[in-house]
Symmetry: D2
Amino acid sequence: MIHFECDYLEGAHPKIMARMMETNLEQNGGYGEDLHCARARDLIAAACGVEAEAIHFLVGGTQANATVIDAVLRPWQGVVCPATGHINVHESGAVEAAGHKVLALPCEGGKLNAAQVRACHGAHWNDATHEHMVQPGMVYISHPTENGELYTRAELEALHETCRALGLPLFLDGARLGYGLAAYGADVTLKDVAALTDVFYIGGTKVGALFGEAVVISNPALRRDFRYMMKRHGAMLAKGRLLGIQFETLFEDGLYFDISRHAIDMAMRLKDAFAARGIAFFAESATNQQFPILTRAQQAYLAEKYVFAHWANVDDGRDAVRFCTSWATNEANVAALIEDIKTL
Amino acid sequence: MIHFECDYLEGAHPKIMARMMETNLEQNGGYGEDLHCARARDLIAAACGVEAEAIHFLVGGTQANATVIDAVLRPWQGVVCPATGHINVHESGAVEAAGHKVLALPCEGGKLNAAQVRACHGAHWNDATHEHMVQPGMVYISHPTENGELYTRAELEALHETCRALGLPLFLDGARLGYGLAAYGADVTLKDVAALTDVFYIGGTKVGALFGEAVVISNPALRRDFRYMMKRHGAMLAKGRLLGIQFETLFEDGLYFDISRHAIDMAMRLKDAFAARGIAFFAESATNQQFPILTRAQQAYLAEKYVFAHWANVDDGRDAVRFCTSWATNEANVAALIEDIKTL
Amino acid sequence: MIHFECDYLEGAHPKIMARMMETNLEQNGGYGEDLHCARARDLIAAACGVEAEAIHFLVGGTQANATVIDAVLRPWQGVVCPATGHINVHESGAVEAAGHKVLALPCEGGKLNAAQVRACHGAHWNDATHEHMVQPGMVYISHPTENGELYTRAELEALHETCRALGLPLFLDGARLGYGLAAYGADVTLKDVAALTDVFYIGGTKVGALFGEAVVISNPALRRDFRYMMKRHGAMLAKGRLLGIQFETLFEDGLYFDISRHAIDMAMRLKDAFAARGIAFFAESATNQQFPILTRAQQAYLAEKYVFAHWANVDDGRDAVRFCTSWATNEANVAALIEDIKTL
Amino acid sequence: MIHFECDYLEGAHPKIMARMMETNLEQNGGYGEDLHCARARDLIAAACGVEAEAIHFLVGGTQANATVIDAVLRPWQGVVCPATGHINVHESGAVEAAGHKVLALPCEGGKLNAAQVRACHGAHWNDATHEHMVQPGMVYISHPTENGELYTRAELEALHETCRALGLPLFLDGARLGYGLAAYGADVTLKDVAALTDVFYIGGTKVGALFGEAVVISNPALRRDFRYMMKRHGAMLAKGRLLGIQFETLFEDGLYFDISRHAIDMAMRLKDAFAARGIAFFAESATNQQFPILTRAQQAYLAEKYVFAHWANVDDGRDAVRFCTSWATNEANVAALIEDIKTL
């Protein structure tokens, strides 16, 4: 079987594996205070236009989300989030585990806009009983969203200005950030993300690494004692070197961007093939996740050779399904799938 | 000004105050282990058809909700609730403070039905990624709802059977239970509530007491160590006698039911007056809260003499407002208001 | 039986009960925003030398402790506390329920001193692995302590200066504060407490009220959004008037201080009687709790007519026991007990 | 510099690295449901004498401790632990973050005994105010302890019987379990650990792996929904294969035991060298951590070539320091250090 169901099917990019082998018997101190982490922080800091002390390395996305949100909010505050947000749907209550309500807003696709944030904030503070309600304390967005969508720079600027004006830190979940930055037509750069959010992370798990998310706390006011929060959340890896080595490799010579672009190229081939066959999509995605809407028969046909994920029920005979590409997607597998799409 | 904005405007029923005075210098042990609490438990147990050890006295509704939910759920579980539920909207995140997500379901009015519970449960367990999602662990309803609505016995039986079949304890918030039991046409009795739920409470704060909610844990499987949970939630009143004395008085000679009926009678007079004037209602309520939809001019006119609460924006020129009656509502005040409604 | 086992055996001071009766049918808004609360805040503010907005009324001590500590600390911080502190021993983990470690320090009696706080703070920050340890975030003391002891003004000043220098808010649990202020020889006044701590509370439950603790947040930096925290902790009483009325009565004409002095006078008579009989004490207490060390035979003899509490095992044949007086203690009962002590 | 300060200085055993390389481009499903995890579970199950479904793979020790404890306890319960326990000292409050008190008992060295557990349990339940205190809900021990000590089989049996009799699940932190099993004179086997505890983990991070702890829930009653707890704690690694591959390699052909024995052999050489030089030890350790007590001059001398850790202040001129060996310790480095110890 050829797998397209998610973007974390393989290990790590061969350059990362090679670096892991080379450094394996080096003796490094623990907990992210080694030279590899230091160098990775410097490389990312330069790429983002922030100070190196803004950067921390965590193991996974749920962990990063829970730790950041717990560090930013006061107990009586909640995190404003699109209803489809990963923290609202797929983290088994990790945000609530730290005592915070997810203030989920209905949304078109997976995006929030500045007007929604203003409305939510206004509704809270204008309510005579606001002290009986969870106070909006920060805003969470994903870029790309869980449905593969991207914010434009104008949208992100509007969110940034609104959040700044309202005193709500803006947090961007970048579990697939590489794929968002590398998408054709995307006008948001890594430096834009750093400038327009208060905290975000650069996903490694889905973009070339074995695991690892680089949290960037652009806003210095939110940096205090973050390492205590990491430890408390079980998020301080003993052999922190492993995170340092991986991000060092990803941010040397633009590897992170190159491999992200590969995934995009593979995804666009699939997108074009589905579109050419007249198949509609559940969401308009310029990134590595594509959500064609297939009949049960079409699904059964493709399922003989390929693994893909059910995404959403659409109507009686059809479902939205997900095909993912990644840094590791094999061109020959994509070509084979395209041939089969033609005969759907 | 004459106040109708809520149902906790006055102190306590005069019989309670008299009993508080009589017993004031008695020496009683603390923490709910005195003779007044014991007697109150016996009276309520008889009225509900449960064992006396099912019953605990807490001070307020948010406290009761948070303590019960925290006692019933395991950490990875959430509480299924109508979107309008008090725990979802008006408790400043007290449920999340104990680590639990409120799984809010959209609803007509403020009620949940058995089909929604089955659908929510099924959607969870049929999802391939259910371990990444908060597991439904119990069901919360209010009777009357926050909008004054009532479950029929058939509806409550259906919820009971569904919850039992799915292994989901059913919790009924009875902050205004007296008003639900005393409503004309209501077919749910206190014994029904005890038989058809796993845990519920009998609200005192809004029904004759200075404060106090009698939690009844009908399902013995949920009773373990509940007093530890009370203490941990700051919900074990030092002078527990105060709760015992109040509930003892309320459940002697049917006082709780009599004073509830008074509130209903007063509310029905108001309801009839609004209806006679051709005014529509935001929710169909047979209980002590009425939600007429008034123009801004009508609101301004009534606001000269009466205090009432804004409830919801309805359309451009009108709002739903709330008029509450209670055990303490003065007939003369109601008569005066009715006269003014006639001239709206 | 005559009860001396605790100081919350009776209801409330008759003046409070009278005021509750008089005001019972007044219509007052909820949640502490009524005129009685406003007046009580003004009276307490004047007595403490703070602004009225510093003051909030909660129902009980565990609730007050948990709410204050949760409001002051950040998630990775703990509260420094003498090992005997109520929050460490007798609150069923209410502090931990909000995610915080109690950093209990061994102590002589129930008091902390400034040197201990400095040492604890220094040990943390000098440890190379401090990010792996709970950070000291505030200091909790009780005055009187759980053993009836009092801080001198010099001791409190030293704690204040140390805490201020180290950035650790100082929180004083005043569940029995009246008895501390009224003790003979005590040199700490209410204004001293307000000036030398960042937050404290004036206990009502044990000093004349049915229930209620007046939290005073002397340090304006800690006041933000405290009412959200109260609601979240189930600590915002619907009929807040009840707290307002009680504290208004207690702080008119010095009632709080007068009734506290009565308890002290009664306690000193007992203390003298035990001492005259040659009986030693477990702790040196100038307040309303006395801890004589009695043989089993002495205990059995007194237990025929009096109820008192076991406090601690001392040695083979003896135990420390607790006799409490309060605002309500009857002189005749004390006289009877003194006669019986003479014949021990 | 030659490093001995901890046992997580290097990457992973070369066999693990080789297996990671070989399998790198395999396509595997996520979250621990791949074939490598399945095989690793089977191998560990056989080694422990438990069912494969008892086993889950987590990334690190603090994460494993926090997740297990949160899964076992009810909210009002705490975990009994020696005062030196890692969860009490070095996890930044991760246990408290989930709402639980660590009930730390004073101990000789780092071990608890059955009598202490019985006494703690008895003291709780015999206290008249036990509902006001955190209820002991489970017992945590480390084997080896943080000081390198080992339980004998007899001691572990006594703890097991006591815990079983009292209804307290026994949890063994095995972050360094390999070194405990491989120690000369140790009479506790892996099957013993599985039979005598309710849940434990087999540490990989410090014993040959890049990272990873294999949690074994021997007691089926504690297994329910554990994967939800993992996800909620951010402890479900997306590329679970990485854990499967590592533990598969460690439990084929006894690699885990062989490399553990190497560390012990290296440690014993150091121990003998210190002892031959007349140097005393802070703790009697048969495992991979050695704690010689050195003067400041001795420390300065060794610090010219070697890195080791400060452990505890002993007296004016001396400190206990820590030298660790591991699976990766180089014989030549040990030989060099021994030569230098001779000249101390």
